[in-house]
Symmetry: C2
Subunit: 449 residues, 2 copies
């Protein structure tokens, strides 16, 4: 099969008249400056698919339900109480229904792989399911139905606060000990068998939820796979970590764990300069979730400083309050602009486009964070691609990186999406949307009744 | 004609099974708790249409073209240079083509009336057109073609800086003296004749562009119509005003002009508490443009404090870098959350929804700012309405204000839009989009060639 594009973002820059030959789900050949052949599918503009480094898929079902004020000042912590109430009602069927719609929406927006930070392990009473992979299997089936690439990150969650504090009742569906976690990881590995392009990693939830010895005990379970952790999302977490250990959370992590290229630090919003430098040196990726971080009032990550240190970034849709690949990059840049009262903060130098720079950075950083061996429109890579229509009015008469700026900032829309060479989205709509949407609505009616 | 909705946001709150009878473009009757009659059009959820208080329609054509770094630090001021270069090439045909698409996009997103802050008066050489309304007529025709409600605000622009500084060459198409402006306003009045629901106001551009005596001379030209002015968008403007007058710009304006309910202060980003209190007392509306203010790195308006003082707000799409009614309200709230590290900052009290509160506030404030005599889904008002689909997955199993939260924060989509009782948008697409979009693309190819 061959696809032909009027313009494409390749590893060495933008090229016109690009023919991409796909075989066995991978890009077998990339030719630029050539005409389309008779059987080629013709499209407008090709971009590499964007990895989504951080998702809690079930939270898509409560999107918009926590935008109502409680008593007193609302914060991340009051939101978390609302999330705990919602999660109490989610069983494996509901999880599968919600996750499948979330993954459909991810593909439609241009995300081709998701890192599912999966912590919903036990039944509503907090007891282990007969099959430890009961809930993981729902995530896997949702990925299979939608066709998205899945990096499954079973979460280790043992405590309710720094220093091994006992977990709260709202956390009963998440918690396990090291042995139980080893079983969960093994069961997840089984559940992933046969899923095309699946990657398995692990995710110690946060320094609130994991002790030093537990962290050391679970890390070998990752094998060569990625390791993700929430860190420094809220100032209260920084304060709590300082009170407990005398160190800030990112500093503590770097000092107590073998943080390297396999790691992805989710949020790191309140990292200071010294911590950022240490992360950049480690080779770890920072997983930013700009829409969720705005929604939860987390704050603004010092992205300019981190990129200047050579740090790698990816983006994630996290709470899935809104699923929008371009919107995440837009919000990332807009947060910087509002904080610094400047423009094109993350463009990275004279003449460079903010959109093009961010798309490339988050394709590379995201692929690393999700354990993909190679990314981008390049021979040998998995054929994960996004196309835009050249006649989209938001992109009219644009070329090269200006097309990405139009996608991020001016309301340009994704047209088609391929994952592993399969065209899953056409005209902006996922091929399986209707049935997945109907099942989602049924599930929501049950959950919110 | 009657429309029947499963749920509707009425003046006295949410009601179910609502029948709205429309006659001569106005809402003749509103009944709640009644069944649909045989000939009624049935829809899901009804909201009042949102007024867009601030637009420079031609800037839609350069959306995304200034997201590329220049030399040194980019800012509002370097963006303005890019805008001046673009505007040099826009003639009345191009303006009409661009504005028509912008207005189509506004309607599709839920804006039913636009305040066009119109300063592009002269030909590319800076000479007056034979018909002073040459460019205004292009705006009027674009409004007519799209069907959007138009409040036309011809702009008085005479100077390039505080204290009557001479205008720069980039401003040559905007500038005129008081007599020339009187002719422009008269010509605009003529151009609006026959346009259903048209309102005429005036807009002194900013305190940079207008002297005290000029301001006094032009105000009578507004008659009973609205008066809009840019103020305190950038810290540099505050500094410039202080250096020139010893007062901050909002303070200067309140002290030197009869600011009252007819006025709309656009941005007011860098107003201090004392200025905010004076604006709130005046009854003027503050016109916030959150997406543009993020894009331009303006900063974050202290909206919580202003609303607590009883201040009125509306929203505008301003540079039209992205046209998204719900997105403006979302960005307004997200800016507050990022700055304060709280959630539901603008909800306005326990149990209140952020989305519902903001939608109502901006319908009321926007209508006031655009010279509408009455707004909302209420007998006697012009029938400007928006519907959502109850089966939109982002709104599944939601009721009342949670639907608005779903629209703003969770990716819910507008289905149909009525302006003056005419259904202009159906299934999210404007009835005239195809032809208007094609003409826009042709115009852009010419402009960007």
């Amino acid at each position: 099969m061959a696809l032909w594009f009027g313009q494409a973002m390749l590893a060495d820059g933008w090229r016109k008249d690009v023919r991409v030959t796909v075989a066995d789900g991978r890009i077998a050949r990339v030719e630029a400056g050539v005409g389309a052949q008779a059987d080629d599918e013709r499209h407008g503009v090709a971009l590499p698919g964007l990895p989504n480094v951080h998702s809690h898929a079930f939270q898509r079902g409560m999107a918009g339900l926590a935008e109502r004020s409680g008593e007193g000042t609302d914060s991340f912590w009051t939101w978390r109480e609302a999330m705990y109430r919602f999660v109490d009602r989610v069983d494996s069927d509901a999880l599968r229904a919600i996750a499948a719609l979330a993954y459909v929406e991810m593909l439609e927006s241009g995300f081709t792989r998701v890192g599912e930070f999966h912590y919903l392990h036990h039944d509503p009473a907090g007891a282990a399911y007969g099959d430890p992979a009961e809930m993981a299997r729902a995530v896997v089936e949702a990925a299979r139905e939608s066709g998205i690439g899945l990096t499954l990150l079973p979460v280790f969650y043992a405590h309710g606060g720094f220093g091994g504090e006992a977990p709260g009742v709202g956390q009963r569906r998440f918690v396990c000990d090291v042995d139980g976690f080893a079983q969960l990881v093994e069961a997840a590995r089984g559940a992933l068998r046969g899923l095309d392009g699946a990657v398995l990693g692990i995710a110690p939830h946060s320094l609130r939820a994991v002790t030093e010895s537990e962290l050391a005990a679970i890390l070998p379970l990752a094998g060569e796979g990625p390791v993700h952790i929430h860190v420094a999302e809220q100032q209260a977490e920084v304060d709590g970590c300082l009170a407990w250990s005398g160190r800030r959370p990112v500093r503590w992590l770097i000092d107590h764990a073998p943080v390297d290229e396999r790691w992805c630090l989710i949020h790191a919003t309140h990292a200071d300069e010294e911590e950022l430098a240490a992360v950049a040196r480690s080779g770890a990726v920072v997983g930013l979730c700009p829409i969720t971080e705005a929604n939860l009032g987390d704050g603004i990550f010092p992205a300019r400083a981190f990129l200047d240190m050579g740090g790698g970034i990816g983006v994630g849709s996290d709470s899935n309050v809104r699923i929008d690949a371009a919107g995440e990059l837009c919000m990332l840049e807009y947060g910087q602009r509002l904080a610094r009262r400047e423009r094109n903060v993350l463009a990275g130098g004279p003449g460079r486009s903010t959109g093009g720079t961010l798309w490339r950075a988050c394709v590379a950083g995201g692929a690393q964070a999700l354990g993909q061996e190679c990314a981008g429109i390049v021979e040998g890579a998995v054929a994960d691609m996004v196309s835009l229509r050249e006649d989209d009015p938001a992109l009219a008469a644009r070329e090269g990186d200006a097309l990405v700026d139009g996608l991020l900032f001016a309301g340009g829309r994704v047209d088609s999406v391929w994952r592993g060479g399969r065209r899953l989205v056409s005209g902006g709509v996922h091929v399986g949307r209707a049935a997945i949407e109907a099942r989602y609505r049924d599930a929501l009616r049950g959950l919110l009744a």
